[in-house]
Each structure stands twice: as structure tokens, then as C-alpha cells.
Amino acid sequence: MSDSPNLRRASMLVPGPSSAKVAGALGFGVPAVDRWLKGGLRRDGVHEFYAPSDGEGAGATAFALLVGRLICDATLPLIWLRTNRGNRNERPYAPGLAELGIDPDTVFLVELAELADLLVATVESVRHGGAGAVILEMQGRARPFDLTASRRLALAAERSGTAVLVIRGKARPVASAAHTRWQVSAAPSPALPANAPGHPVFDLRLLRQRGGPEGLHVQLEWNREQAAFRTPLYGDSSAVPARGTEDRRRRRAA
């Protein structure tokens, strides 16, 4: 009975714990990373992306957006929530999104003045379940985003199957209910002819993984045409995931 085509079609129209979303984990397609993550990032989890100390640059935001785009399968809507205070007129720029390979048409931007309101809106968006991923961008200490708030997000994410990607700029890692926590910054790109800046490269450190190892340090380059991450090729030498002891020292932030 459940195989009736009418029923199946009807179920596709019902919003909620999304039937269209693929269950399981989002693999990066880079074996070293996917092994470390035991397959990939949970699609119904909370993932945090910290920009290092004085986080200038758009690295962490871009990485979260790209992860969101991969989780969304490029067609489900992406909800991007941010405060419109204290970011010094730094506006998301749609042509830049398109240049990264994210269709600006699928992005809904929610900008609010108060962080408390932003958290309410985020939980609402996650609970609704219609979005492929919900991106919460915060700058500075963001006191209202405490352990309770992140737990609420994690519960909502598990219930609705929506990924929550939290970007923390200008902030030090704090305790939270996140499934993974990353430190993301820009890394030098393999130069194009005439020493032009190349494709975006991200320097990633896995600071925490719930129920899994941490300390992964890797650089990933975004390939827009294939919509995939790969390890960047710098001229003659290929980058090897670096796992120095110094990384272990700073990995336990929370």
C-alpha cells in the first residue's frame, strides 16, 4: 500500500523530517578525512567552525557554506542567520556565492539585531525541517550561545534531520553540544599562472569530535566544477595531512 505512486508523491509534499534528505554522513571524499570522521559529518548534527583569534577573512564562513551546500544537495534551501550588528557593513555578496558554486537562489538570509532573537530564529528554522542546512554566524563572545542553547540546537537537529553549522568569528572555543568542532582559516592557494591567487584552500583543524578522535590537521581545496573538496597540489609536492604534536596540545579547547 505504501508503494502506491500517489501516496509516495503526496509524502514528498509534506514538509517535516525531510524525506528528500539523504540520511547518514557527509563524506568529504578525501580518504584521510573521512577515515578520521568515521565516514563523515553527521547530517543531523551541530558542527562548529571557529575562525582563529582575530578572524579576519571569510574562511570559516565560506567553509561552513560549502559544507551546507554539500549537505543540501544544492537544491534544498540554505538558511543563513547572522547578526547585522557589529560586522562593519560586511555584507554577504551574492555574486561571490555564485562564484563558489552556491546558487544564491537557494539561500535565505536572516539578519537580526539581537543575538537572543537570532538563536530563537535558528531553533525555529532547524525545527521546521524544510531547510537542508541552517547556518548560524556569530561574531565575538556571543554569551547567549551557551551549553543550553547549543544542546537545544543539537536536539532540534537530531529530531528534524537538519544540519546546523555554527560559525564563530573572533571567539575562543567554549564548551558546547556540537558533534564536531573545527578551526578554519584560509591557507595559501596553489598559484595559477602569473602567480595569481588560486582556488580557495582551507586550513582545518578538528578540535573536537563527539565519540571520536580529534587532532586532524588538513588542508582542503574547493573544486567548484566537481563540487568537491580535494587536497591541494602545490607545484611539485602534494600536501600531506600534518599531525604534529603541537596540534594535540591545542586541540582540547572545551
Binding site: A94, G96, A121, H128, A131, P200
Partner: protein, 506 residues
């Protein structure tokens, strides 16, 4: 005898002592004592309004305060405050929307209601409405005189001059200039009744063409429709409570009930509401209004209930039922065609995604305001800052230009608007940047690409000609990528071109 042009029924309420009575109600003046409201007119203090006790002593508006004090020494006087008086009058106008949506203020001290067709539905008669209205006004401390007529002018004149028939009205009810009134009185024409039977043409020839028109309106021969204070929604439902509702908790049930009653009406038209208004009439005349808007036509009562729940939660001042609400009305001021077929599945799921998100977007919009949520819309503009703009989330989708295959991103993810001034060291004045300082931090450029020259759109501004911009994509030694431009061509447009940071790349 009475040639009624239509079957319309108007009721006018005149509030002769509004400025004085609102001061008494506010506790600013003692009741039952004579006092005056005064204003300086052409150098002299003149009386604008009087308290009922002062009027009973024979004082009249337009008297000089000095003359009045000759009659009543120590007459207290308050400065005239037309703004507050007007606000009180508009409150009364809003409260009278409980009888009919067609309510308009007239002058500074009267209002007129179009009661046509209002009686059978609500079980009122024009007398019960007049009684109810004056009783409610009395509770606010306002003395109101109500009168009915077939035209708004007739009703207003009867209320203002406190007479029962149009024939008994003084000629001043014509509301023409004082000279005409004086001339009419000199001619022995003191009442409207005396004017009624005269041939109109000689009257018009002597006193102007306005006079027969005004006369016809007073006599109920010619109608002048009123412009209501608030445009009436044609789709509405209302609910009167047997017992005033003193708590807000049942309100959502009431709203859902009203939405259920509207649902069939909307469905009958094949429409859904894009905006819903709820007016809550309090027993003391206050009217609270709640409005929600939604991104797509809606008529599902539970969904409407959820939107109002969101609106109630987001109110800065919670609703204060005071002595209780005794009536609620829901109107749909904006309705649109609503397709009942299922959404098109052929567009790659994009349209479906939007439909799925609509309830969420509506809720966020109601709670945080329409400007908090947006989508991007491409614009065919030359300058980067105008190449995209924010549009409401329900706007149509549109295709974006596809990026050049194989190229890295050529446009930044974040744009500064306006661009940030930075100081740049370049090897040669028109060369690429080598180093720059931004927010007191030094950046060493290790890779660059450019310039990409973007000229000022001179074709749009024939006389104005702005500097050309030379854009560079640069990367510093840590891998951060920036979009910088030099403003003005060296040597041709500027000797010391300024540099700006316009965006940040991933």
C-alpha cells in the same frame, strides 16, 4: 414630502465639550466647575472651548478671555491642545468601528457613521446603536449627542444644533461663510425650513451655487458619501462576546474561530489572504489591532492561528484587556488568487523547497519584521556594489550567471559597502599592491591578479565622470584573499590615487 435619494442611514455624534471633558477625565481639571480652553488669536487670548459648567453660565466660544473674565472673574483657563483632542476623537472613531466599518471624523468634535445595512445582521436598531454609543461615551466621560439622517450632512447638522428636524435648523447649519449667514438672516430667512420652499435658482444667483447643494444635503435630497477613517476590508468576520473577555488566553481560539468562518468565504472566491487584521474592541473604547502578513496566500485556520500566536509573543507591550474585550473582528485587507493544485515538481524541486519553507518564513516575518529575511536578486549593474540586491523571500526565483569554468572565484563572498580605505604600498604608482595596512594590521601580498578595470558608468551620468577603478585579487602570506581597488587612473585621473578594500574572498 421627504424625497429620499437613497435608503442610506447615517448617524452623527457631536461631542460639544470634548476638549474640556478630556481634561476632566484626565484629572487635569475638576468636574462641574467653569473653565475655558484658550488660544492666542491675532494677539488676543480667545476662548476655543468651554466646560459644560462654563457654557451653562452663558459664556461662548470665540469670546475674548478678558470679556469672559468680566462676566466670570477668576475663570480658570487651559491652553488649547488640538493634537491631543484630535487623538481622543480618533480613539472614539476607532471604537465606533464596532458598529460599522464606515466611520469618519468630521471637524474637530464630531464623527459620522454610515449605518446602511448594519441593522439586520447584528440585531441592532438605529436607536439602540445611538443609546449604546452615548452610554459608552459617557463611560469615557464624554457627552455625545447623536442624530440620524439620510445624508451625513443632515445627521451632523441635527447633532450639532440639537434639533430634531431639518426644518428647524438655523441657517448657520449650511456651514457657509458668516456674511452669507448674516445676509440670509437679514432677508428674514432664519431656518432651513424657510429656505426649503423657496425656488433654488434665485437663491443660487444671490448667495452662490454652494447654497442649493448644501441645502439639498441638509434636507436629505442629495447624498455625500463619507470616506471612512480606515478602508473597510470586504472579507471580514466578527465575534461579539456575551461576557467581556478579561484574559488573553482564549484569544487564539477566537482567532482560529474567526479564521474558520473566513476560510469558506476565501475558498469560495478561490483566494487566500496575504494579510490578516484582528481588531479587539475593549469595553472602554480602546481598540487593539494585530496584523500578520504571509508570503503566499493562506486560508488554513491553524496556520493563521500560529501566525497570530507568533505576533502575540513578539509584542513589545503585551495586550492589556483592561475591563475586557467585548468584540473581535478579523478582516482580510489583502487577498490573492490561491492555486489549489499541487506545486509543480518539474522545476528541480526549487519551487517546492520554497513552498515548504513558506510557513517558517511567515512565522519569522511576523516575529522579527519583514526586513529581517531576504533573498538575493541579480541586477544588471556595472559597479559591483549594485550587482545584487536583497528582495523579500517570497520573490520569484531567477537564474544567476554561471561562473567561468576552471577559474577561481572572481568575486568576493563578503562585500564592504562602502569600501574601506586602506593604505597600500605598490612598486610603481600604477602597479599591483605589494603591501597594505588595514585596521592597523600589515598584510604582505604574495600573489595577485589584475587589474580588472571597472569604469565609472559615464553613460548614465552624462555630465558627471567618476574615477575608474582598478581591481586586484590578492592573497597574503597566510592565505587570506582580498579584493582591493585603486580609485582613479594614475597620471590621468589622479596623482595620488586612493586604495580601497572592497571585499573578502574565501
Amino acid at each position: 414630502m421627504n424625497k429620499l435619494p437613497s435608503e442610506r442611514r447615517y448617524m452623527a455624534i457631536h461631542l460639544p465639550f470634548l476638549p474640556a471633558e478630556r481634561r476632566i477625565a484626565d484629572g487635569a481639571a475638576p468636574p462641574d466647575t467653569p473653565f475655558a480652553i484658550i488660544e492666542k488669536q491675532r494677539g488676543a487670548l480667545r476662548i476655543v472651548a468651554l466646560s459644560p459648567a462654563a457654557a451653562a453660565l452663558g459664556l461662548e466660544p470665540a469670546m475674548a478671555l478678558a470679556d469672559a473674565r468680566a462676566l466670570v472673574p477668576d475663570l480658570p483657563a487651559f491652553p488649547h491642545d488640538p493634537g491631543t483632542d484630535r487623538a481622543v476623537l480618533m480613539r472614539v472613531v476607532a471604537a465606533c468601528e464596532r458598529y460599522t466599518p464606515m466611520v469618519a471624523a468630521d471637524g474637530a468634535d464630531a464623527l459620522v457613521l454610515d449605518l446602511t445595512g448594519c441593522f439586520p445582521a447584528a440585531g441592532w436598531t438605529q436607536e439602540t446603536i445611538a443609546r449604546d454609543a452615548t452610554a459608552r461615551l459617557a463611560r469615557l466621560g464624554l457627552r455625545g449627542r447623536a442624530a440620524h439622517g439620510a445624508t451625513p450632512d443632515a445627521a451632523l447638522a441635527l447633532a450639532r444644533f440639537a434639533v430634531s428636524a431639518a426644518e428647524d435648523l438655523p441657517v448657520a447649519a449650511l456651514a457657509l461663510d458668516a456674511e452669507t449667514h448674516l445676509a440670509l438672516r437679514r432677508a428674514g430667512l432664519r431656518t432651513i425650513g424657510a429656505l426649503r420652499d423657496r425656488p433654488r435658482a434665485p437663491l443660487a444667483a444671490r448667495f452662490g451655487r454652494e447654497l442649493p447643494v448644501r441645502l439639498a444635503r441638509l434636507l436629505g435630497e442629495e447624498d455625500r458619501r463619507i470616506t471612512p477613517h480606515r478602508p473597510a476590508g470586504t472579507i471580514r468576520a466578527e465575534h461579539r462576546f456575551a461576557e467581556p473577555m478579561a484574559t488573553v488566553s482564549p484569544l487564539l481560539d477566537v482567532i482560529e474561530h474567526l479564521a474558520e468562518r473566513l476560510e469558506t468565504r476565501l475558498a469560495g472566491r478561490g483566494a487566500g489572504g496575504r494579510r490578516f487584521d484582528v481588531a479587539l474592541f475593549r469595553t472602554d473604547g480602546h481598540v487593539a489591532r494585530l496584523t500578520v502578513t504571509c508570503g503566499r496566500p493562506l486560508r488554513d485556520p491553524p496556520a493563521i492561528r500560529r501566525l497570530f500566536a507568533e505576533r502575540l509573543e513578539s509584542l513589545a507591550d503585551p495586550l492589556d484587556p483592561g475591563f475586557g474585550y467585548d468584540m473581535a473582528r478579523m478582516t482580510v485587507p489583502l487577498a490573492e488568487r490561491m492555486e489549489s493544485e499541487q506545486p509543480d515538481l518539474a522545476d528541480g524541486g526549487k519551487g517546492r523547497a520554497r513552498t515548504d519553507l513558506a510557513p517558517l518564513i511567515d512565522r519569522l516575518t511576523v516575529r522579527f519584521g519583514p526586513r529581517s529575511i531576504s533573498r538575493f536578486h541579480p541586477c544588471d549593474a556595472h559597479l559591483p556594489e549594485y550587482a545584487a540586491r536583497a528582495v523579500p523571500p517570497e520573490s520569484d526565483t531567477c537564474p544567476w550567471p554561471r561562473p567561468e569554468p576552471g577559474e577561481p572565484p572572481l568575486r568576493p563572498l563578503f562585500l564592504y559597502d562602502p569600501p574601506r580605505r586602506v593604505s597600500v604600498v605598490a612598486e610603481v604608482p600604477d602597479g599591483p599592491p605589494r603591501r597594505f595596512v588595514w585596521r592597523e594590521k600589515h598584510y604582505r601580498v604574495v600573489r595577485h591578479e589584475g587589474p580588472e578595470r571597472i569604469a565609472y558608468p559615464w553613460w548614465k551620468h552624462p555630465e558627471g565622470c567618476g574615477p575608474t577603478r582598478d581591481y586586484y585579487r590578492v592573497e597574503d602570506e597566510t592565505g587570506q584573499r582580498f579584493w582591493l581597488f585603486r580609485h582613479g587612473l594614475y597620471g590621468r585621473e589622479s596623482d595620488h590615487p586612493q586604495w580601497y578594500l572592497h571585499g573578502l574572498f574565501a
